[in-house]
């Protein structure tokens, strides 16, 4: 049988270009809007998600990372004494001030960790390593913020909360949700940088011993520490994300933009495929009049929509990769995960099929007399 669907699509190159441009534009729009939402969302919890901890312990009523207030380090020893705890560290995430050599001041979020622990340290290191934090006054920053903090190379000296600090390493891609970059240092030094008393901490990170049920350990720790709140890492991540996404205007704005991107994308694809199908309505009417079964007509229309969807998606995704790459160089955080890519593929396919179905309904209800008109 002649490939009617393929011919309908490829015969008119200009029409094909318009169709594919419409679908590709929608894909790029959806990738950018959804990617901004995902990037925004993930940047609120990057520190938590990369902590390698099983449990986070914070002061009671803490609901998100930046909210934690200091509590006495005695709790740390209670944690260590709890059966099932394999490893635990004291941990700080807290605002402070950064003073550049030229006197300019920036707000930063100091992360105080244990360089010898596998939990809570700097990740994605591209220069130096966590052990370098053991040097006097050592800090590690993300190279994305090198210009903002005016610290461009290992060995650069700055001032944090009145204390001298030396850059000993750079990470890559540890974005801060707020405008304040993360600055990694040791727990002890972080106490000075954030003005917390020596006998306090604002988090305890826990790794369960092998074979220990994390849920049961969490319950036991919560029982022993009634003045604290114990989260599983995923719970704390979700709680922090929820706070920033849904209780601040910024999160809702990004969410609405993502939703709008999806809606506009769906509308453009639907309109494009509908127009492409309706371009050939006379031929479909003729097919029906000749006696082609509905399943054949439906097959041609669906095949046409599917080919357009796959090609439009491929072009759109190729453009999106460039856009995402370019945006990240420009400082925007647009995430394009493989899950998003696969999800958008099926969404595009579904949108094209749905738009085709709408036109099919029109075709199947065609007035037969139309085929007898010139």
């Amino acid at each position: 049988m002649p490939p009617l669907a393929r011919r309908n699509l490829f015969h008119d190159r200009i029409r094909l270009a318009v169709t594919l441009t419409g679908i590709a534009f929608s894909v790029v729009l959806m990738v950018v809007q959804w990617g901004l939402f995902e990037g925004f969302s993930s940047s609120t919890t990057g520190i938590i998600d990369h902590s390698h901890a099983d449990l986070w312990i914070a002061a009671k009523n803490t609901t998100y990372l930046e909210q934690a207030i200091p509590f006495n380090e005695r709790k740390y020893y209670q944690v260590l004494a709890t059966p099932g705890v394999g490893h635990a560290i004291k941990y700080i995430v807290r605002w402070s001030y950064w003073k550049e050599p030229n006197g300019h001041t920036e707000t930063i979020a100091v992360v105080g960790c244990d360089p010898d622990s596998f939990m809570g340290g700097p990740y994605n290191l591209v220069a130096g390593d966590a052990q370098q934090l053991k040097q006097p006054n050592a800090i590690i920053i993300d190279r994305m913020y090198a210009n903002k903090l005016d610290a461009h190379a290992i060995g650069d000296m700055v001032e944090v909360n009145g204390f001298r600090a030396k850059v000993v390493g750079f990470t890559d891609g540890i974005r801060a949700f707020t405008t304040s970059p993360y600055v990694f240092t040791t727990f002890k030094r972080a106490l000075d940088f954030t003005v917390i008393d020596d006998d306090q901490t604002n988090f305890i990170l826990v790794k369960a011993a092998p074979g220990v049920d994390i849920g049961q350990l969490k319950a036991e720790l919560q029982r022993r520490l009634p003045d604290n709140v114990v989260f599983k890492t995923a719970e704390f991540s979700a709680s922090t994300r929820h706070y920033w996404m849904f209780t601040t205007g910024a999160g809702i704005a990004v969410l609405m933009a993502a939703a709008l991107g999806l809606i506009v994308g769906i509308a453009v694809v639907a309109q494009t495929i509908y127009a492409t199908t309706m371009d050939h309505i006379r031929e479909y009417g003729t097919l029906k009049a000749m006696g082609a079964p509905n399943r054949y007509v439906l097959g041609v229309i669906m095949q046409q929509a599917a080919i357009a969807a796959v090609l439009g998606y491929a072009i759109g995704m190729a453009v999106s990769v460039f856009v995402v790459h370019g945006a990240s160089k420009g400082g925007a955080n647009i995430l394009l995960s493989w899950q998003t890519a696969i999800g958008l593929f099926f969404l595009t396919l579904g949108m094209c099929a749905s738009a085709a179905v709408v036109s099919v309904k029109k075709i199947l209800s065609l007035d037969p007399a139309t085929v007898f008109k010139s």
Partner: protein
């Protein structure tokens, strides 16, 4: 294929319609397009359906072609009542027994001339080399073998109508229904096309029904049915 009709029927009366009435309802308004029409269309004959605009010619052709259902009355195709068939069975009846020729040719512009014919053959189960060979034979029959690979946009109106005729006779349907097949053609080309359709009726024993306003076609007709206000005013 539909079980209600034989693969090929041999009755002289290809189509018989009995007491056909067709109303078009639109809201509270109802328009009577056909009013109790009785007609038998015979094989081996060219029947012209003539009459003024709005007299019901195209409606009658659509009903004979099983495209449109009558409001009441019976349509017998090869002696079997097709009005009793389910809607879903009618496409198979059209595909097997009826070929259509349209005023505007209605070729698929994205397919070559031969592919237009091969598509019809493919729908009828003739595929691959068999379909190509049969399309080539039909193109020779209608006298445009050299346009086999041309796209409709690259051939003349007369050649398009020849392709449409080749498509209509592909798979050997017993009935050819044509709606104003010469309206878009010059008189010389129109004459050639009607001669070709007459040959299909006389030489190949098909029933050919042509809706037309063109009085020049009368000389090729074996029978002329004139419709007025949804009724047969003259059958000669």
């Amino acid at each position: 294929m539909n079980a209600a009709l034989p693969e090929v029927f041999h009755l002289a009366d290809a189509i018989t319609i009995r007491g056909i009435t067709k109303n078009y309802d639109e809201g509270a308004t109802s328009t009577l397009a056909l009013d109790g029409v009785d007609l038998s269309v015979r094989r081996g004959e060219v029947t012209l359906l003539m009459g003024p605009s709005g007299s019901g010619k195209t409606t009658l052709l659509s009903i004979m072609g099983c495209i449109l259902r009558p409001t009441c009355g019976q349509v017998l195709l090869g002696g079997r009542d097709v009005t009793a068939l389910r809607e879903a069975d009618l496409p198979a009846v059209r595909l097997r027994h009826i070929g259509f020729v349209f005023q505007g040719f209605n070729l698929f512009p994205t397919l070559t001339a031969s592919e237009n014919v091969e598509l019809t053959l493919g729908l009828k189960g003739v595929k691959g080399h068999q379909a190509k060979d049969e399309a080539r034979r039909l193109f020779t029959l209608v006298g445009i073998a050299e346009k086999y690979d041309a796209f409709p946009a690259d051939i003349s109106g007369g050649q398009k109508q020849r392709v449409a005729i080749a498509r209509a006779v592909a798979g050997s349907p017993e009935v050819i229904l044509a709606d104003e097949p010469t309206a878009a053609l010059d008189s010389h080309t129109g004459k050639t096309i009607v001669e070709m359709m007459a040959a299909l009726a006389h030489d190949e024993d098909r029933a050919v029904v042509i809706v037309t306003h063109d009085n020049r076609l009368i000389e090729y007709a074996d029978r002329i049915v004139r419709l007025e206000d949804g009724r047969i005013a003259c059958d000669a």
